[in-house]
Amino acid sequence: MIELTRRYGFPAAHILRQPSLSDAENLTTYGKCANPNGHGHNYGVEVTVSGPIDERTGRILSPDLLDRIFEERVESRFARRLLNDDEIFRDRVPTAENIALVIHAALADEVAKRSSAEVVRVKIVETRHNSCISGALS
C-alpha cells in the first residue's frame, strides 16, 4: 500500500464555546480556550491520499492539483479568519477534532471529483502539544 502526504498550514483564530452551555460551564469545559475574545494557532494540516499510480506521470495525485484544491477549499476559507464565523462551525465547536473532520470532508469530495485518488486521512496539528487525525491509520 502506498500513500502520499503533503503538509500545509494556515493561521486562524477560534473560540471554544458551546452555545448550549452557560459561560461558567464553558469555562469549566474548555478552560482558557473559552476566552470569548478568541485566540489563535498556526494550524498544520497533513493531507494523506492513496490510490493507483498513474504510470505515465509516476504519481498518485499531482501535488500541484492538491495545492490548488487546498487553496480553494481550506486556505481561502479558513486562513486568517475566526473559524467560529464559518457557517459549518455555527452548530459545532471548532475543536481540533471538528476541524479535522470538516477539512477531511471538504478535501475528500473535491479530490474524488478531480482525480482517481482518495483522501485517507487528515491530521490537524493545532500546537506542538496536540494534534488530531481523521480517517484510517496505515
Binding site: 500513500e3 500545509y8 509516476g58
Partner: protein, 135 residues
C-alpha cells in the same frame, strides 16, 4: 510485536522525464519538475518483529545501518537519479516511484519479513509511505 525505525538523510538531483518524450513534451507534462533540480531526502525504514531474546533487538542496528549505507547511501547520496542510477530510464523519479524502487531494494537486502514500512520524505512538506501488508 514491536516496530523499530532508523532514518538516513541523503541528497540527490533529478528531473522528471519520460524517455519516449521530447524535452518540450516532458516540460508540458511535468512543469518545473522537468528541470534539473534536487532534494534533501530523508528515508525512515521501519522494521517489525520480536526482539531477539539474547540481544533484545529485532535486527542489530549496526547491521541495519550497514545495509542502508551499502544499498541506499552508496547508490543515491550525491548522485543524479536519472544519470547515475538505472531505475529512472523509463519512469520519472517521482517520490512514489522512488519509494517503490527503495522498497524493492530493501526487500531484497533485508532478512525476510522484517520490513514494515518506509517513509521517503522529499522535503519537510511532502512524503510517501509504502506499508507492507500484515503477515
Amino acid at each position: 510485536m514491536v516496530r523499530i525505525t532508523r532514518a538516513i538523510d541523503f541528497s540527490a538531483s533529478l528531473r522528471y522525464a519520460r524517455a519516449e518524450f521530447a524535452d518540450e513534451e516532458n516540460a508540458a507534462l511535468f512543469g518545473s519538475r522537468a528541470r534539473h533540480h534536487g532534494h534533501n531526502y530523508r528515508l525512515e525504514v521501519t522494521l517489525r518483529g520480536e526482539p531477539d531474546p539474547i540481544t533484545g533487538m529485532v535486527l542489530n542496528l549496526k547491521d541495519l545501518q550497514q545495509i542502508l549505507d551499502d544499498e541506499i547511501m552508496a547508490r543515491f547520496d550525491h548522485r543524479d537519479l536519472n544519470l547515475d542510477t538505472p531505475y529512472f530510464e523509463k519512469d520519472p523519479p517521482s517520490p512514489e516511484n522512488f519509494a517503490r524502487v527503495i522498497r524493492r531494494i530493501l526487500i531484497a537486502a533485508l532478512p525476510d519479513g522484517l520490513l514494515d514500512r518506509i517513509r521517503l520524505q522529499q522535503d519537510a512538506d511532502l512524503w510517501v509511505d509504502v506499508v507492507e501488508p500484515e503477515p
